[in-house]
């Protein structure tokens, strides 16, 4: 069974069980050696344990595919918080859903929309052109001639999400900081369930399409008559995925312009619409010939309440010239309702926030921030994220804040990869 996916929960369980046993054995081996190792050797042994654990964990993920793999993809967004050995393995796992063949694609369309594709569309390409969240995207032409991108969801995937995450949790116990990963897993599950909700995605697409209209961004229009719980059809956008476009070696100015557009989309979304496209995967940005940017895949979208956005807008100004009291009021705002922390914990939190503020402030010090001149910026951010992650045990951070920050950080990494110069000063955040 070369490319078979274990299908029943029992089989999947057996698969993860094997992995967990493997991980456990490795951890035991490490623990038994630990007392006899010097400090340095101990670090080394721990590292090799991480490496082996990661390899084992993701070998089993490769077998599960489906929801577990998507979860891995999300985990890889958190990758800077995980050991680099695990990050590497995760990188390999990105963007693979169970394959849907032509017969199954036809069946999915027929079940969801009531009629087979050949009756609905002028043409329907049974072979997918892109992978999507837990499904894949097919090209089709509507009867009126419009070219469409039709996203199909693998049947029954929604039902496997919960059990997959539970299994993944069981398998992850030997990973460093596995207790801290608990909320991460919960969030991943919530997001996965959102991602398979195509109706919600359709609403989000319409929301952003309407709200971001004047910007140089193209958001495909949905065709509701071809949409259902497991099928989502929208206008097909031509353009190159960002990574492919970068491979063609665009000039500095072109890269700057595209990066600026992406940053502007983020700012407009956050401050005008109080919502963001929260999946800064380079595959979701399509660069078009006129350097406008197409934005696709609205499976992961976050809406914020206006007070939160207002508060977040003050972060940059506070970072640039705020005192301790400003930070205190920010902290109060970003913290969820939880019992008052002890003074020294509060002090530590403030220090953390100040350090994060100082890091963010660097973006606003000049008119444009040149990522090539600041090679240490992202590594510093990585350290900040890791520290902030550890602080989660002391405070109940507003989940919106974590979400927003993660997306933001994802975008910054993208800009760094582009080697772009981006202006971050905007009227919502920057008050000279």
């Amino acid at each position: 069974m070369a490319d078979g996916i274990p299908k029943s929960k029992w089989e999947r369980g057996a698969c993860v069980g094997k992995t967990a046993t493997g991980l456990g054995a490795k951890a035991l081996a490490y623990l038994s050696r630990k007392p006899f190792l010097t400090h340095e050797k101990r670090a080394q042994a721990r590292k090799s344990l991480d490496q082996e654990s990661a390899a084992l964990l993701f070998r089993s993920l490769g077998m599960l595919r489906g929801a577990a793999l998507k979860a891995a993809q999300f985990l890889s967004l958190e990758t800077d918080l995980l050991p680099p050995e695990i990050t590497q393995e995760l990188g390999k796992a990105c963007h693979q859903a169970p394959p849907i063949n032509r017969a199954l694609a036809r069946k999915i369309v027929g079940t969801a929309l009531g009629r087979p594709p050949e009756e609905l569309f002028a043409s329907f390409d049974g072979v997918a052109f892109a992978a999507a969240s837990l499904g894949q995207v097919h090209r089709a032409v509507a009867r009126d001639g419009q070219v469409l991108a039709v996203k199909l969801q693998y049947p029954g995937i929604r039902e496997t999400i919960e059990s997959d995450i539970r299994l993944l949790r069981a398998a992850a116990w030997t990973l460093p900081d596995h207790r801290l990963l608990d909320p991460v897993f919960e969030e991943i599950q919530a997001r996965l369930l959102e991602e398979v909700d195509y109706r919600r995605e359709m609403e989000n697409m319409a929301f952003f399409r309407e709200g971001l209209a004047p910007d140089p961004v193209i958001i495909p229009a949905c065709r509701p008559e071809f949409c259902a719980d497991t099928v989502l059809a929208a206008q097909y956008l031509d353009g190159m995925p960002l990574t492919d476009w970068l491979d063609t070696g665009p000039g500095q100015q072109q890269r700057d312009r595209v990066a600026q557009t992406i940053q502007d989309i983020f700012v407009s979304g956050l401050y005008r619409l109080h919502g963001i496209h929260a999946d800064p995967n380079p595959g979701n940005f399509l660069v078009r010939r006129d350097l406008s940017v197409g934005l696709v895949d609205f499976g992961c979208v976050k809406h914020f309440d206006p007070q939160f956005v207002e508060l977040y807008g003050r972060l940059a100004a506070t970072a640039l010239h705020g005192g301790k009291n400003d930070y205190l009021s920010l902290l109060a705002g970003f913290q969820g309702d939880c019992p008052q922390a002890s003074p020294d914990i509060t002090q530590r939190l403030i220090e953390e926030l100040q350090a994060t503020g100082a890091w963010i402030a660097r973006l606003y010090r000049q008119e444009t921030f040149d990522f090539r001149d600041n090679p240490d910026f992202i590594p510093a951010g990585k350290r900040r994220m890791a520290a902030a992650f550890k602080m989660r045990q002391y405070m109940n951070v507003n989940p919106h804040f974590i979400f927003l920050h993660r997306t933001r950080y994802g975008l910054l990494r993208l800009f760094e990869r582009m080697g772009a110069r981006v202006g971050f000063r905007n009227p919502y955040e920057y008050r000279p």
Binding site: M1, N101, R102, A103, K107, G156
Partner: protein, 250 residues
């Protein structure tokens, strides 16, 4: 009075339809031939010109449906480009889709139809033959396209898929998931496995293995048997000899 072929076909179709309705409501036992005839607007006796028993009507339903589905898959655009796995999957999905409006009827009758013994077996045979033809066509196409190795025991492969089909329908009858998606997924995954077997030429190899065992064991048994026969034949004269001796002793 002679009636035209068209008219005959129409009546046959009407009988099947009204039988499906009657059996859906009252079960196979509860529905009577008379009732079915009346619902089809035919004379109480006329119905027997078409079908001798209710079971014959049930088999006719499945046979028609199979024929219809064989045509329907061929009408799928670029079906000819599909690989064997996709063709089979499309065929099974189409069958289940065709069963869907009569799901209750299928749940009532499929088991008795597929496992009918002795008396009704002659009814089942044309049905199976039709199914085998469809599957065999797909396999021959795939062999011609070089997709899979030559199937030495095509009959056996067809038989496997027939059993698979019966299993799938039973699973589908008991499937309570939304849109019966569990069945869809099961078909998708299990065909993966089946194709793995076929590509790896398992069946042929198994048969090779079987024939190897057959040759080795049966032949060696035969040899042993022959030895014994020889021994007997050798003994025979000696028996006679003994007797002879006895005679001579007397």
């Amino acid at each position: 009075m002679k009636i035209s072929e068209d008219r005959k076909r129409e009546n046959r179709g009407r009988i099947i339809r009204s039988a499906v309705d009657a059996m859906t409501e009252k079960g196979v036992k509860g529905a009577t031939m008379r009732e079915i005839a009346r619902a089809a607007e035919l004379g109480d006796a006329t119905i027997y010109n078409y079908f001798p028993t209710k079971e014959a009507i049930i088999h006719a339903y499945y046979e028609d449906l199979l024929a219809d589905c064989a045509e329907r898959v061929k009408a799928i655009p670029d079906f000819a480009d599909y690989d064997l796995r996709e063709q089979l999957q499309a065929f099974f999905d189409t069958l289940l889709e065709a069963f869907l409006p009569d799901r209750e009827f299928v749940a009532n009758t499929f088991g008795t139809m597929a496992f009918s013994l002795t008396a009704d077996y002659q009814l089942l045979r044309p049905l199976r033959a039709r199914f085998f033809r469809v599957v065999a066509d797909m396999f021959e196409g795939a062999v011609a396209a070089g997709e899979i190795p030559e199937q030495a025991f095509q009959e056996l492969t067809c038989q496997c898929f027939w059993d698979y089909f019966i299993g799938m329908v039973h699973y589908w009858i008991h499937d309570r998931s939304e849109h019966f998606q569990n069945t869809t997924v099961l078909i998708d995954k299990s065909l993966d496995l089946a194709m793995g077997f076929i590509r790896a030429d398992i069946l042929n190899k198994a048969m090779d293995m079987a024939s190897f065992f057959f040759r080795n064991h049966i032949m060696s048994r035969l040899d042993m048997f022959r030895d014994r026969m020889d021994a007997l034949q050798v003994k025979k004269p000696s028996v006679g000899g003994r007797r002879g001796r006895r005679h001579s002793e007397k």
